[in-house]
Amino acid sequence: MLRLLPAIIALGAFAAILAGWAAGGGAVEAAWAPSWGLELSFELDGLGALYGLLATGIGFPVFAYAARYLPLHLDHQGRSHREEWRFFGLLLLFMVSMVGLVTARDLILLFVFWDLTAVSSYFLIGYDRQEAEARSSALMALLVTGVTAVLLLAAILLLWAEYGTFSLPELAARARPGALVTGAGVLVAIAGLAKSAQVPFHFWLPRAMAAPTPVSAYLHSAAMVAAGVFLLARFYPLLALSGLVLDLLLAAGLASIAIGGVLALTCDRLKQVLAYSTISQYGYVATMYGLGGGKSVAAAAFYVLSHALAKSALFLTAGAVTEATGEDRLSRLGGLARSMPALAVGSGLAAAGLAALPLTIGFFKDELFFAASFDDSWPAAVAAVAAAGLTFAYIGRFWLRIFAGRRRSDAVRLPPLLTAPVAVLGLAVLLGGAFAPPFGDLAAAAARASAGAVPPIEPAYHLDARAENLMALAAYATGILLLAAPWLWRRPAAWVASTGARLGPERAYTVGLAGLNRFSDAIHEIEVRDLRSRIAAVLVPGGALAVAGLAATPTAGAYRAGTLSTDDLALVLTLAVVALAAIGTAAPRHHLTLLLSVAGVGFGLAVVYALLGGPDVALVAVLVETVAALVFLGVFALVPRDVLRRMEAIPTPRRRRWRDPAIGIFAGAVVFFVVWGALSRPSPAAAIADEHVRLAPQAHAKDVVTAILADFRGLDTLGEITVIAVALVGVTTLLARGRLR
């Protein structure tokens, strides 16, 4: 089945990265733009391996799921199956840009991949393009992550300006604490936090659930959002140089845990619960980077790994449940465990992993988190327990509402390809709980890439009364209490939700976007309503720039009047005629007189060219002027007489009567000084023309100009002929009969 090809590619990439990592990593380098210090340099270090394995390893089950899900999805919407390829192509691009991002060592390269993930996610979120909600969600994701990406670029350039390198390892070695590193660190932190949907940039993520389910699953666990915390990990050596940046991460992380957790507890739509849960979960990760220190960084890396496994399974579950029942709200679901046992078990394991129950990989993620926070301070420890309790409660609510209790809706049988990936991911969560050391090693290697020396992660179960175990028990108790007594939190949580909707950053985004739209409409209005002001708006600033240039140039010896002999009398007289004819074009009322004036200019110039020693040019000018005059006449004949009369009689408004000539004179004056200055200083390199003259006989031409046109600069002539051909096609099309409407 061809649809499984992306999944197979993902699996192959996973195997390749795993093999590369087992072989000790490695680096690839190629010149990109050496003069700018840019290199195509990739390195598979611990951090790259962790996120690369996530992107491909989560990609495999998600893409396999998509192979079955997407045809159903398109059928529901009555769309053609041919649109599948766009989807799979974009998914693969998403994966490739993610792998490129995590292995890039050159910062500009990193930025390019960073933006590629934003672009591919834009198209994936807006995949159901016939729906306005999908389109606006995609735009929101692109704007929030794209605008903050510019901050990342600014930070990269700041660091480059100071330390002169785009290479991250070199930067880490050279950077010293200071205002610049702090400033760059803040910019990087904002970019990372916006991408991983942390408060106050979190609002785009719940909207992004408008995407087809496999996209949400992938985006939340292994790509896009994970890229945000990856950036924090990658830049950690620089971020850690400034206490301010770490405090910023800590504050944003704690706020995200609280707000995401509370909102996840109140939401009714399946994917929305999971989206807020993702915000809260990455809040943990940001918090741990904010706490700083090797232990926290290692815990953060492990957290990302275990969260990705669990969250992707839960998203796929949400999609499968909606597919089977047609419902996407917790309040309309229930008791599905009996009709879809495999899905219930798979997602149950994933939920247990997120809730940090023992025997799952999630237990260790919380254990490490507890240890890091306990080491830091007692308020951090209390916050950690509260956060874990909140997670336990919302994920428990999610699973119990779907699979336990009274049955509220009918379910059709699901195809195996929609349940198997969930089961596989669930088993991976369980496997991580049983054989944790390999996962711990990978996370520790990733942490070493961020923070240098890191204590090894040794996940194991200890049956004693150590702090981590007591904190875990306290968290379970909190979670069970929250689940058992919803009246405790229902009101405050609803208040948080409504206040957030009313005063939150999403409102600022909406208002800001509407303001920008109005601004652009206003500009457009001006453009459409007054075309001539637009022309003047080009001419006047252009002239002002030229004047500024003239003012800045020294005038001494810049202008020469040149010599004038009696032989030049004919030339000067012809030029005078040309000038008079040119001035004459401004006056006439009738189009025919206007045409005669401009033809006078043209033929006068032909004579000038002849007197300047250019018979070829003069000949062409005469020909062209003749034909041009005929074309003008032909066009006059195509437009009815009364229209021409009406146009001739257009009165000039009073304020234009002085403004237009003034602009004309100003433009002429500027051009005069520019051209005079240019002609006064001929380039001394006369060799080219002499060479042309010398070589002309070898080109079998008597006329040097002909030789240049047909031979030495033949490509120019080819371009000229192309222009003529294009103009011919254009005119034919324009004059073809028929009206636009």
């Binding site: 022309i535 437009v639 234009r656 004309g664 240049i708 004059l735």
Partner: protein, 124 residues
């Protein structure tokens, strides 16, 4: 000579710029023509040498005029002609769709059309 040529170039350009600001589209085109004339003359005037035409057999006594600028000017003239024709075609087209080759009228029609589109969008 340099001064004279510069002056004429400036007059051509100034007259062209003035016509560009007119509402009558034919005058706008004449403005474009004049501006390209100004460019051609400037190009031709920038020749490094002046004398007899650069055609073999070369004259022994006098110098010859710079052939390179002649070739460039020749190309520029032809391209200018193509642009003029295309612009004239556009004017005919504008007349056919808006019934007047007049910028103000075109702008008003554009604004009307815009308003219609907005209305349709709202009603959808």
């Amino acid at each position: 000579m340099i001064l004279v040529i510069s002056l004429v170039v400036a007059i051509l350009f100034g007259a062209g710029a003035y016509l560009l600001l007119k509402p009558d589209l034919f005058r706008v085109i004449v403005g474009v023509v004049l501006v390209s004339h100004a460019a051609n003359l400037a190009l031709m005037g920038s020749g490094l040498s002046r004398g007899q035409p650069p055609i073999y057999p070369l004259p022994f006594s006098d110098g010859i005029s710079d052939p390179l600028v002649q070739a460039l000017t020749l190309t520029a003239i032809v391209i200018g002609f193509a642009v003029t024709t295309l612009l004239l075609g556009l004017v005919v087209r504008v007349y056919r769709s808006h019934f007047a080759p007049d910028l103000d009228e075109v702008a008003r029609a554009e604004a009307r059309r815009e308003a219609e589109l907005e209305r349709d969008e709202v009603s959808i």
